[in-house]
């Protein structure tokens, strides 16, 4: 909350919002910390930063990743098997010096358990701020349960990013959009994370539905190619979020550092292409319509 008690609509002046507005249309990348080791994660993050990522989400692995599809589940398993701990994660962040601001993406139990006291979110947020993280995304924390974490984030100057799903509508949508800080994470389709071959019609519908809110919107869940990025930006997004497609590279490439950098560049180019076609041809934007 801002000092006057009004919701900090896209907390004006936050690193995150700035990164999106300044690099519009923005590329946001996700990889899982510790997959396959924290050292390698460091190199991958730097590659993404070089490739053109404007914001970088780092996953802090949790054993029960209910919102993830098979690709990220596997990454999390690899990270946990490699012995990734909360403290190890924060030490990695301590070391990272990227141009793009960093966010942590993790499940709520991880936030509750950090530090001595069970079920207290304060220590985690404090440590995150100390490490230089700019924001937090929690896929199993809907707005209704977010008060304690939002309070702590506000206290430590971190953004708390909310996810908006295809099923989020009406009054709840209003309430969530009024609480967004950093950006609204627009879930491209129902289901879990995971690279898909197309952009779902739900993405267009969601962006249309959100058009009226003056909040940066980034679309994730299924984005894997430059062309998707272009299409999504053209449909009104301020950024695209890519995760599984990058993890596929980590899992299978012979030279992940180079390939990650190249992939980031491709995606960024796609986003930019979408932004340009939008400026040229603003009439093509689809009409807002309710599904």
């Amino acid at each position: 909350m801002s000092d006057d008690g009004q919701p900090t609509t896209a907390a004006a002046g936050s690193d995150i919002e700035a990164a999106i507005r300044e690099n519009h249309p923005a590329l946001i990348t996700y990889i899982t910390a510790g997959d396959p080791s924290l050292e390698e994660t460091k190199a991958y993050v730097e590659a993404l930063d070089r490739g053109g990522a404007d914001l970088i989400e780092l996953g802090l692995p949790f054993s029960e990743p209910v919102a993830e599809g098979a690709t990220i589940q596997a990454a999390i398993n690899r990270a946990l098997e490699a012995g990734t701990t909360q403290e190890g994660f924060f030490e990695l962040v301590d070391e990272l010096e990227t141009e793009a601001p960093l966010l942590v993406m993790t499940y709520y139990n991880m936030i509750l358990q950090y530090g001595e006291a069970t079920a207290d979110v304060g220590p985690f947020v404090e440590r995150a701020a100390d490490a230089g993280l700019s924001g937090i995304i929690v896929p199993d924390l809907p707005a209704e349960e977010a008060d304690p974490l939002r309070t702590a984030c506000d206290d430590h100057g971190l953004d708390l990013v909310f996810i908006v799903a295809p099923t989020t509508e009406g009054e709840r949508l209003d309430r969530i959009m009024s609480q967004v800080s950093g950006f609204a994470y627009v879930q491209a389709r129902l289901g879990t994370t995971g690279a898909r071959g197309d952009v779902s019609s739900a993405t267009h519908e969601s962006l249309a539905r959100l058009a009226e809110y003056d909040v940066p919107k980034a679309v994730g869940f299924g984005v894997s190619e430059g062309d998707h990025a272009a299409e999504i930006v053209e449909a009104g997004a301020d950024g695209v979020i890519v995760g599984s497609a990058l993890i596929d590279i980590i899992a299978s490439s012979d030279d992940p550092v180079a390939d990650l950098e190249a992939k980031a560049a491709e995606l960024k180019r796609g986003a930019v292409r979408g932004g340009e076609s939008l400026t040229n041809d603003v009439e093509d934007a689809p009409e807002p319509e309710q599904p």
Binding site: F62, V66, N109, D140, E145, V164, A165, I176, G191
Partner: protein, 423 residues
């Protein structure tokens, strides 16, 4: 670490309908929130307010299809053995062999009233899956069950039962391929198909309103038992004992007795082979969540959990598959926190002895889950007063193989020699 050391007000301030003291809530992906609200609405209309005669139909079907009421039986030989009056609530006689149908039928029927077209559920050993498959067949609803690959392979008879009842069974390859992974995968399906699908959760766990919904469908156990014990023994019992995995038979049995301050309530968890968590392996050789767990969020609710110091959920272990879960219902966590329910546990051996003892003395082969309650009765009957009700949550036919294997490697005081020599 117990919650009483901490101030939960800071993290839970919302709508108290969704919580039990510090526990409960709705920690789920945003995409599911509208479905939970829809379910809350349906819960209030159909379950709480009997709209369109929902509860009447539920009760009628539980009578005609499910075989309710189940008896409360005086256990003559246990009463003699323990020198006090022991009564058994016979949920093993419910259609399908356990209390699980009370909940499964309630939820499938509710899904039908809500206009849902498809049922999904998770299952561990297969008890909740078979109950859901039976209910879905009975109510003509398409049904898919998620089950860990390991469980699929070691619980084949239950897989076949589900298939025969027309349900699809989807093996889950992730992780150790057991209950926890099956729940995760069912939540993922639900997050994808939420608009037309209802997720029939198998215990008093998960996000609000599931813990209340499941409890209310299971509460018939205690409603019947409370009336029966008064009729048969002329008064309320001194104590009520039920095993606790997720805690649905537990809450179902206790709920009606909670206001009776003089009735002690014992939730018997699986002590497994030891109460210590192995942090390195991420394994708890027990599932004594209420006795040894710490507060956290799992599968949609704030509750007591078996977790590492780093916040990872550990693998629980019990000889009884149905108790083998790292979480527990938030309402039970709350009732334990307030002191209304006493959390206790007995290990694998006591449960196996309990299994053999009831089989041998009373002619009832109990589920290994229920055998924990009977193991506790043996160990601590002197503390339970003169009149004790024990919930026999299910029958043990499903456990024969496990019991035979586990009996072979131990020297169990209550086990018969089961071999009949071969020709």
């Amino acid at each position: 670490m117990s919650t009483s050391d901490h101030d939960h007000d800071s993290i839970r301030e919302r709508d108290s309908e969704a919580t039990f003291g510090d526990y409960g809530g709705q920690y789920v992906p945003e995409a599911l929130m509208p479905a939970l609200q829809e379910l809350e609405d349906a819960y209030e209309r159909y379950v709480l307010n009997n709209e369109d005669g929902f509860m009447d139909e539920f009760r009628e079907r539980m009578r005609d299809f499910g075989g309710r009421p189940t008896p409360l039986q005086r256990a003559d030989r246990l009463s003699e053995r323990y020198d006090r009056e022991i009564y058994l609530k016979r949920e093993d006689l419910v259609h399908g062999g356990a209390h699980k149908l009370n909940n499964a039928l309630g939820q499938v029927l509710l899904a039908k009233y809500m206009g849902k077209e498809r049922i999904i559920a998770e299952t561990g050993a297969g008890q909740h899956g078979t109950a859901t498959a039976m209910a879905a067949a009975h109510l003509d609803m398409p049904c898919e069950i998620y089950m860990g690959r390991t469980d699929v392979n070691r619980q084949r008879p239950n897989v076949y039962r589900m298939r025969m009842n027309g349900a699809e069974v989807n093996p889950v390859d992730a992780g150790s391929g057991t209950l926890k992974e099956a729940i995760n995968e069912t939540m993922r399906d639900w997050a994808t198909t939420v608009e037309r699908t209802h997720y029939v959760i198998g215990s008093v766990v998960g996000p609000h309103p599931f813990p209340k919904l499941v409890r209310d469908f299971q509460a018939v156990i205690g409603q019947e038992a409370r009336q029966q014990i008064q009729q048969q023994a002329g008064r309320l019992p001194d104590s009520v004992v039920a095993c606790a995995g997720g805690g649905s038979n537990t809450m179902g049995t206790f709920h009606e007795f909670v206001p009776d301050d003089d009735v002690s309530l014992y939730a018997v968890e699986a002590g497994g082979s030891s109460l210590q968590i192995d942090e390195d392996e991420g394994v708890a050789p027990n599932s004594a969540t209420l006795s040894t767990g710490t507060d956290g969020v799992l599968h949609g609710a704030m509750t007591k959990l078996l977790q590492s110091e780093d916040g990872q959920i550990v693998e629980s272990h019990s000889v009884s598959a149905g108790l083998d879960y790292a979480g527990v219902g938030p309402e039970l966590s709350h009732l334990v926190e307030t002191g209304r329910v006493t959390p206790v546990n007995v290990g694998d051996e006591a449960a196996l002895n309990g299994f053999h003892r009831l089989s041998n003395l009373e002619g009832i082969i109990p589920a290994l889950e229920s055998s924990h309650a009977l193991g506790y009765l043996e160990e601590q009957h002197e503390e339970l007063g003169d009149l004790v009700v024990v919930n026999v949550s299910g029958r043990g036919d499903k456990d024969l193989e496990t019991v035979l294997e586990e009996t072979e490697t131990r020297d169990l005081e209550a086990a018969p020699d089961v071999e009949v020599f071969d020709s």
